[in-house]
């Protein structure tokens, strides 16, 4: 369970995230939505230790992880993908995932073993799971954009997280790719019993898989709850007017 309480962060007087509280239950799929600049990415960076909050707390299964270093938070079971694809672009696909396995299994300070032989099976299985089988020896930076996103998901999964944070997992994807990615995420979340928190601008995606939605506006949560309740919230409707939230009604 991920509990965020009273989280705030200012940059030079600008309150990017203001008193945000949000709880994601174990195995729940939750989405944070909001217009550009609403503070979604900042919120993620606060949770994962890339930014230190001015106030408030983040708890993972009751354990306070506020302001811990990113590598610690990762080891405690939080995986994340980044909005702009963030992989090891000069390494091969195999090397990308293998490095993540090595670190997760605390083999990183082994100075002597031959790394090439390690975690081959685990890497192969993960590649099948994320739909990149057969791409082991491709240099990651030369993959197609969609495949890079899949690899990034693989990087997050290699450390076997309980909570997965995805920052715009379908950004820049075509309609088909978006659809496939959502199927993939749903399957993996179910297989691995993940708690999933994601941001997304595509409302169709949000309403198709989220069990809970929080709406962020100017750094504040203005609505939170079941998808249907959020959809009918007058304040949300006012902010999103003309932004497609009412689409499909």
């Amino acid at each position: 369970m991920l509990e965020i309480a009273g989280l705030s962060k200012s940059f030079a007087g600008f309150r990017a995230v203001s008193d945000v509280s949000l709880t994601v239950d174990t195995r729940q799929i939750a989405a944070v939505i909001g217009p550009n600049g609403a503070g979604k990415s900042t919120l993620f960076n606060l949770i994962t230790g890339h930014l230190r909050p001015d106030s408030g707390s983040v708890r993972l299964d009751g354990r306070d992880i506020t302001g811990a270093a990113p590598h610690r938070i990762c080891r405690l079971g939080v995986g994340r993908s980044f909005q702009r694809t963030n992989i090891f672009s000069k390494l091969t696909v195999f090397e990308n995932l293998q490095a993540a396995f090595l670190v997760h299994h605390r083999r990183g300070l082994n100075f002597w073993a031959r790394s090439d032989a390690l975690y081959r099976d685990e890497t192969a299985a993960l590649l099948v799971s994320i739909g990149l089988a057969g791409q082991e020896n491709t240099v990651a930076g030369t993959l197609s954009y969609g495949n890079q996103k899949q690899l990034e998901l693989g990087l997050a999964l290699a450390s076997d997280p309980q909570v997965l944070l995805l920052d715009e997992p379908t950004a820049g994807m075509s309609a088909t790719e978006t659809h496939e990615t959502i199927r993939l995420l749903e399957r993996i979340a179910a297989e691995r019993e993940l708690t999933l928190l994601f941001t997304e601008h595509d409302m169709e995606v949000v309403f198709s898989i989220a069990q809970k939605i929080a709406v962020l506006h100017q750094g504040q949560v203005i609505a939170e709850g079941l998808p249907q309740a959020v959809r009918n919230d007058p304040e949300v409707r006012r902010i999103y007017l003309g932004h497609g939230l009412v689409h499909g009604e």
Binding site: S89, L102, V103, F111
Partner: protein, 337 residues
């Protein structure tokens, strides 16, 4: 996409080809024959190349493997040279104690200075490494009682290699030639160890830091701790190279620790190709040889070096080995066409 595939296959074939020929063994054995076939001057050049090769490979652990630009790598080379020199000359210690002590001393200094350096990034990291190396230089220059100050520590004794009398074929060699052979063996072993480290899980994690430190942190890598660890390892091997250099050049002087030596070893690394394990040794050989060859013709050696570097950096950003790699790929393609 096709271009990418072509390069990948070419590299694959090149790798297969080079694997059939044990290049490293051939080079090592060839270098061992220099005292018999080459004369004293060539022994001098070969020994200089070998020591610079180890020094440059140790720098490349930071530069090419981890993406850390150190401008002060000579500090650890210097600490190693002084530790070994002082132990052997002032305290009459045998080489077998002084040599490992040099590596240990350099590693300890790297641990202390690295602790501060890895807290900074990029240019600031580079500046701080430079500052630490200038501190070492200042100490070496001023601490007369221990380092000999500006007079340095001349006449460091050779290790006792009389036992080589009993090895058939080696009994006729001078002490200088014997030390050369010992240097080759120690450097060969050091390079083998570094090669193994680069290919270990530790080495793999270092490449993730080089490629993308932010992402490395979020697969669970404690980036600073790994940077400090590799800083210490690189410092230790630089110290070993320094220890050999002090004995080889018959003395340790403050000049050895001056910052321009850091620039020189960085030039070797880039010249040879920092993307390749054997790039720095190739760069060391090229630089030492060029230095010799060009100073025979002109006193404007630095100018010629500058021009060569300029051309290389623009034409072959991957250094000499990177250039050869490209050339090989092109030949392969032409043959297929």
């Amino acid at each position: 996409m096709t271009a990418v595939t072509a390069t990948t296959t070419a590299t694959g074939q090149r790798a297969a080809l080079t694997r059939r020929i044990p290049w490293t063994l051939i080079v090592f054995l060839a270098m061992c024959t220099v005292p018999w076939v080459g004369g004293r001057y060539n022994v001098f050049l070969a020994e200089q190349i070998a020591i610079d090769a180890l020094f440059a490979v140790s720098l490349n652990l930071l530069l090419g493997t981890t993406g850390l630009v150190s401008f002060g790598h000579v500090a650890y080379f210097g600490v190693g040279a002084y530790v070994c020199g002082i132990l052997m000359k002032t305290y009459d210690m045998p080489f077998i104690v002084a040599f490992p002590a040099a590596g240990l001393g350099a590693a300890l200094f790297a641990l202390v200075s690295g602790y501060f350096c890895v807290r900074l990034i990029k240019l600031y990291f580079a500046m701080l490494t430079l500052a630490f190396s200038q501190i070492v230089w200042a100490i070496a220059y001023k601490w007369n009682d221990v380092t000999g100050g500006d007079q340095g520590l001349p006449e460091i004794p050779y290790p006792n290699l009389d036992w080589l009398d009993h090895v058939p074929g080696l009994s006729g060699l001078s002490i200088g030639d014997r030390f050369y052979l010992l240097t080759l063996v120690l450097i060969g072993v050091s390079l083998a160890i570094i090669h193994r480290i680069v290919r270990s899980p530790f080495g793999r994690v270092l490449t993730t830091i080089r490629d993308n430190p932010e992402r490395a942190a979020f697969i669970g890598v404690n980036v600073r701790a790994y940077q400090l660890a590799v800083f210490v390892v690189a410092g230790a091997f630089a110290g070993l190279a320094g220890a050999l250099y002090g004995i080889f050049s018959r003395g340790v002087f403050a000049d050895y620790v001056f910052w321009s030596k850091s620039a020189e070893v960085m030039i070797m690394t880039i010249l040879g190709g920092m993307g390749y394990f054997w790039g720095p040794p190739v760069g060391a050989a090229a630089l030492v040889w060029l230095n010799q060859a060009i100073t025979d013709y002109t006193q404007y050696w630095p100018l010629v070096l500058g021009v060569i570097l300029l051309v290389l950096l623009f034409a072959f950003p991957g250094g000499i080995l990177g250039g050869l790699d490209l050339l090989w790929a092109r030949i392969k393609r032409m043959r297929r066409a």
